[in-house]
Symmetry: C2
Subunit: 341 residues, 2 copies
C-alpha cells in the first residue's frame, strides 16, 4: 500500500506534515509519499533529523511538486491552473494508481474540487462530502458534511444519509446505524427551508434506501451515543465541528487550571490522575483523525487544517485502515447494486 | 419591580416553572407573577409545598390565563388567536406596565412574534434577536442570534453587532467589546452568501457605528476569551448553542464516569474534588441563565426550553438584574442617539 501525503497543505505545513509522516512510518506497513517542494522537504528533514530522507526509511519517499495551493485560492481555479501543486500532483498520482489513498490538510474547497474533477464522483452521488468522526458517549458520531459543500439541496442530504449508512455498516459493523438530521428542534416544522424539505425527503425515501432515519436531532442530543450519524449541509456541519473543537479546547484548559490552581491542588490531584487521563483520552479529538471524503471513486482523506505532527500521524494511520477496510470499494458496490436492482 | 413568568411554557412546565419561582422568591426583591391556569397552578403548589400560594410569599402572585401555546403551534397564528394563553397574557401585562420583565420558556418563534407584535421593535432595529451568554475562558461569550430568526439578511447581522456592542458596554462594562462574525474560516471569501455579504457590510459600517468588528471567527476560537460576542443567523446560532450544550453534557458525564469508575478511583478523587468542582462550576451553563430578547421596547427573557427548577431560579434572578441594569432603556437611548446625530 502507498499513502500519498500532501506535504505542503495545512496551517502548520510542511513542518508538521513531515514530522507526522516520520512519526507514522514505523506504525504503518504502507509507503508514505511526501508530495511537495523537494528542496524544502529535504532541507527540513535534514534540519529536523540530521539525516537524509532515505536514511530514515526506505518506505518514506519524496515526490516533487513545485507549487502550493493557498487557503485564499479560489478552489476550482487553483485545481485547474496550479497543475504542479502538491494537491493536484497528489490527486493525479492517486488517479494513476501510484498510491491507494491521498491525504491533504490544505484548502477544503480545492480538495473537494480536485476530488470531484480529478478523481470523479461515484455514479449516483451528486455531491461527495466529508464524513468526520467525533467522540460521543461510549461510542462515536459520524458528522456529514463536515464542511465541503457550503450550499446543499435536500437530495444531497439524502445521499449523505445513504453514504453514512453504508460507511458505518461496512467500516464500524453497525447493522442499522441511526441517522439524524441536524436541526434546531425535533418537530417536523422546525428549521430553515433546506432542513424542512430534507426532512420530508428523508421520511419518504428512507425505507426504500435502507436508511434508519430517526428524525431531527438537536446538537444537545448529538453526543448521547444514541445517534450514529448526523447529516447536515457543509456550512452548518463545519460550524458544528469547529464549535465542538473550540469547546473541547476550553474544557481542557479550564480543567487543567481548575485542578492545578496551586501546589496543594496539584498534589491533591495525583491520586485522581488515572481517571482524569481516561477522561482526557475520550475527549481527545485528535485520536479520531481526519475526515473521509465519501462519494468519490478513490479514498481521499481531509486532514484537519490546523493539524500538528501528532494529528498527521493519527490521520496517516487511520488512512491505512480506510484502505484496508475497502470503505470506498464498498460504497461503489452499494451504489451500483442500488442501480441494478 | 414585578417579574412576569409564563408558568406554563417549557418542556418541564408548569412544575419546574413553579418550583423555580418558589426557589427564587427569597432571592429577589421583585414580585413574581405566575401566569397560567390558576386551578392547575394552585393545585400543584398545594401538592408540592402543602400550602396555598399566599402562604409562601405575598410577593408570589398567580394571574389566570386559560390557554397554552404549544411547541407545535405556528408562532404568529398562536399569538393572534390564543389571546388567553399564558404567553399572550404575559406580554399584555408587560405592555400595560403591570410588570417590568417577561420570562418564558415556551415556543421561541411565538415569543419572537409576541415580542414584535405586542411589545414592538425599537426604532431602527429590523429584527430583534436572542442574545445568550455562554461561558468562555476566564470570561463570557455573547451569542446573537441564539435562535429567533431562522432566516437573516446582512442588515440583521449588522444590527446584531450594534446591539451586542451596546449591551456589553452598558451591562458588562466592556468598553470596546470585540465582535466576531461566526464563519467556517477566517478569510473574507469563506462561508455562505449571507456570511460573505455580512462581512462586507460589517467591514464597511463598523467604524461609523462604533462596532469593534474583529472579522470572521470560527467556533474553535469562540471560547478563547478574546471574543466578547459572535453574531450569526438564528439557525446557525441555535445549532452552535445546542452543540455546546450537548458537548457539555457529554463532557460532564464522561468526566464523572472516568473519575468514578470503581471504588478505588472514587476514593482517589476525593482530594481533587475542590478543583473538579471549580471546573464544573465554570462549565455549568445553567448559571448563565436565559437569553435577553434584544431589540424590543421592553425586557423579554427567553428561558431555556428544557429549563429545570434550578434554571428557572437562575433566570428569574438574572431577569431582575436585566431590569436593574436598564439594558433595554439604554438600547433605546443608543438607537435614538444614532438617529438624531
Amino acid at each position: 500500500m502507498r499513502i500519498i501525503l500532501d506535504a505542503m497543505g495545512g496551517d502548520n505545513g510542511p513542518d508538521a506534515n513531515i514530522r507526522g509522516a516520520v512519526n507514522a512510518i514505523n506504525k504503518v506497513k504502507a509507503d508514505i509519499i511526501l508530495v511537495g517542494k523537494e528542496e524544502i522537504l529535504r532541507a527540513k528533514i535534514k534540519e529536523f533529523y540530521g539525516k537524509e530522507v532515505e536514511e530514515i526509511s526506505d518506505r518514506l519517499i519524496i515526490h516533487n511538486a513545485t507549487e502550493t495551493i493557498e487557503m485564499e485560492d479560489q478552489p476550482t481555479v487553483a485545481i485547474k491552473h496550479k497543475k504542479d501543486s502538491s494537491m493536484v500532483v497528489g490527486f493525479n498520482m492517486l488517479k494513476q494508481d501510484e498510491g491507494d489513498v491521498f491525504i491533504s490538510a490544505g484548502n477544503s474547497g480545492a480538495l473537494l474540487a480536485g476530488a470531484t474533477l480529478l478523481i470523479g464522483r461515484i455514479k449516483g452521488i451528486d455531491r461527495p462530502a466529508l464524513a468526520g468522526i467525533l467522540p460521543a458517549y461510549k461510542s462515536q458520531l459520524l458528522l456529514m458534511d463536515c464542511g465541503s459543500n457550503t450550499n446543499c439541496k435536500p437530495i444531497n442530504l439524502l445521499q449523505f444519509a445513504q453514504m453514512s449508512t453504508i460507511y458505518l455498516k461496512n467500516t464500524f459493523g453497525i447493522e442499522k446505524p441511526a441517522i439524524g438530521l441536524l436541526n434546531i428542534g425535533t418537530e417536523e416544522t422546525k428549521g430553515n427551508e433546506l432542513v424542512r424539505e430534507s426532512y420530508q425527503l428523508l421520511k419518504e425515501k428512507s425505507e426504500e434506501l435502507g436508511i434508519n432515519f430517526v428524525g431531527n436531532v438537536e446538537g444537545r442530543d448529538a453526543f448521547s451515543g444514541k445517534i450514529d450519524a448526523i447529516v447536515t449541509d457543509g456550512f452548518t456541519g463545519n460550524v458544528f465541528l469547529k464549535t465542538t473543537e473550540g469547546l473541547g479546547k476550553f474544557v481542557k484548559r479550564t480543567l487543567k487550571e481548575s485542578l492545578m490552581k496551586n501546589i496543594f491542588s496539584k498534589i491533591a490531584c495525583v491520586p485522581a490522575l488515572p481517571g482524569i487521563n481516561r477522561f482526557a483520552k475520550t475527549m481527545d479529538y485528535k485520536s479520531y483523525g481526519g475526515a473521509l471524503f465519501l462519494g468519490v471513486k478513490k479514498p481521499v482523506v481531509k486532514a484537519h487544517g490546523s493539524s500538528d505532527e501528532k494529528l498527521f500521524e493519527y490521520t496517516i494511520i487511520q488512512a491505512e485502515r480506510f484502505v484496508e477496510n475497502k470503505a470506498v470499494d464498498r460504497m461503489i458496490e452499494a451504489f451500483n447494486k442500488d442501480k441494478k436492482e
